[in-house]
Amino acid sequence: MACRPESDVEKDFPILSTVFEDGRRLVYLDSAATTQKPKSVIERITHFYESENANVSRGAHKLGAIATSEYAKARETVARFIGAKPEELIFTSGTTESINAIAYGWGEENVHPSDEIVVLVSEHHSNFIPWQQLARKCGADFKIVDVKPDGTVDLDVFRKAVTSRTKIVAFAHVTNTFGVIHPVREMIEIARSKGAVTVIDGAQSIPHISTDVKEIGMDFLAFSGHKMLGPMGIGGLYISKRRVNEMRPFFTGGGMIDNVEDNFTVFAHPPEEYEAGTPNVAGAVGLATAIEYLEKLGMVCILDSDRTLLEYAYKKLDKIEGLTLYGTRDFEKRIGVLSFNIKGVHPHDVATILDAHGVAIRSGHHCAQPLMKHLGIFYTSRASFYVYNKKEDIDILVDAIKDVKERFS
């Protein structure tokens, strides 16, 4: 399949035509935090509110029927995108809620004192704190597996960490700090061989890497719509069939019951069982539209573009002295995330000066304090790429980095 030229993709994103007061254009390199939205997604939301808006199910009117069927179609689209069945896909507000839902809904039911919960030191706080807190509450051991200085996992170290006492292994398929792709298949194989349940944080992987949950064999997968061109306030949680009976609904309320008696409630079947309250229908249909857009671009093209830009950036940045680039140099194990530090310059100053150049990056601990502490750094600056970025963006980034160096030299 031929990939679309990068300059062509950019045009689909209204915000990317932003020009600031000083005449500089916006160079958006903060997609690992949140992505911009194509026209089609924005218009889909507008269309929903202008022509289809209603609460789902149980309503016997036409708008209700439309909203219900659009919501069902959205679930099919999102489920298909990750290789799941529709009833295995729960809509949540995002990765953080998805992971908490597993920690409460599966974790509290199944984790006992002296069990172990294993995470990587490189996890995002959203895939770290919920497990840390669950372990404390259940009296389980919370085991943090180190990663190598280049951000990759040492499979031998990981293998030793997972034991027959391990109940849950939770890790990100792709890290948000350095964009490192972990060997998810091998790691899940190791976890499963010890009987542990696997929770995959897909916040950074689902937007960039074609994923088939059945083939990979995970038990749970969490992801966010806003990191894959979709709206804010919507996300997904895949619960494999083999785990769904070991859970209890985490949120209770309207829309998830069969029958409510005074002292007990009979819950409905999944997915409804795990979606209490009025769902975010506009969010779900917006996310489905985002997925259709991604599929049209082609997930292979997206990862290709990531790597082309990353290699291009490395080539240019390698020539600049005093720059530390984080993460493995095996670009096959990377998505389009570039983490760096400039000697003697605080990352917050880097970000501010880049911003003055129109370049939007992020600096800080990236919600990954354990990794930062492990590596003995406090922060990094992070530029992250997505479908709408092009080589010219990298050129502007590199020039801006040079400007930072000059100012502080």
Binding site: E21, D403, R407
Partner: protein, 137 residues
């Protein structure tokens, strides 16, 4: 926006050679403040002579904005009364938040007038001043 507006030479200079950096030999009081949005911290030490700030020093971890602001602040308030320092504190915070033309009393600290245009960096510029307010209260 021209980065030179915020990263003026005087700021870069103070960042590279912060004045009153380090610890006092016999401090009367020390406060520690953390910038919650990034985790950077400042330790501020003072030695009083009655109502006067006789000596002052700081150390910690911070960006150019917060380091330079701390450095300039210590120069400004060393030797003056608590009351006067409190007054400068209020003027500085007002200027940093609003971007309004500052009193000439703020001297070099006036270089931070432009920080109001970078709302997320206002905290960096005011951190040392908040520490000052705490240490003299």
């Amino acid at each position: 926006m021209d980065p030179s507006e915020l990263y003026a030479e005087v700021i870069i200079d103070h960042q590279k050679n912060p004045r009153n950096y380090g610890e006092l030999e016999n401090k009367d009081k020390e406060v520690k403040l953390t910038n919650s949005s990034c985790g950077d911290e400042i330790f501020l030490q003072v030695k009083f002579d009655g109502d006067r700030i006789q000596d002052i020093a700081f150390y910690g971890r911070g960006c150019a904005i917060s380091t330079a602001s701390a450095s300039i602040m210590t120069e400004l308030v060393k030797g003056i009364s608590k009351e006067k320092a409190e007054e400068l504190y209020e003027k500085f915070v007002e200027m940093a938040r609003t971007g309004k033309a500052p009193s000439s009393e703020l001297k070099d600290a006036r270089v931070f007038q432009g920080v109001s245009k970078y709302p997320l960096r206002v905290k960096c510029a005011t951190l040392a001043w908040h520490a000052l307010e705490k240490v003299i209260e």
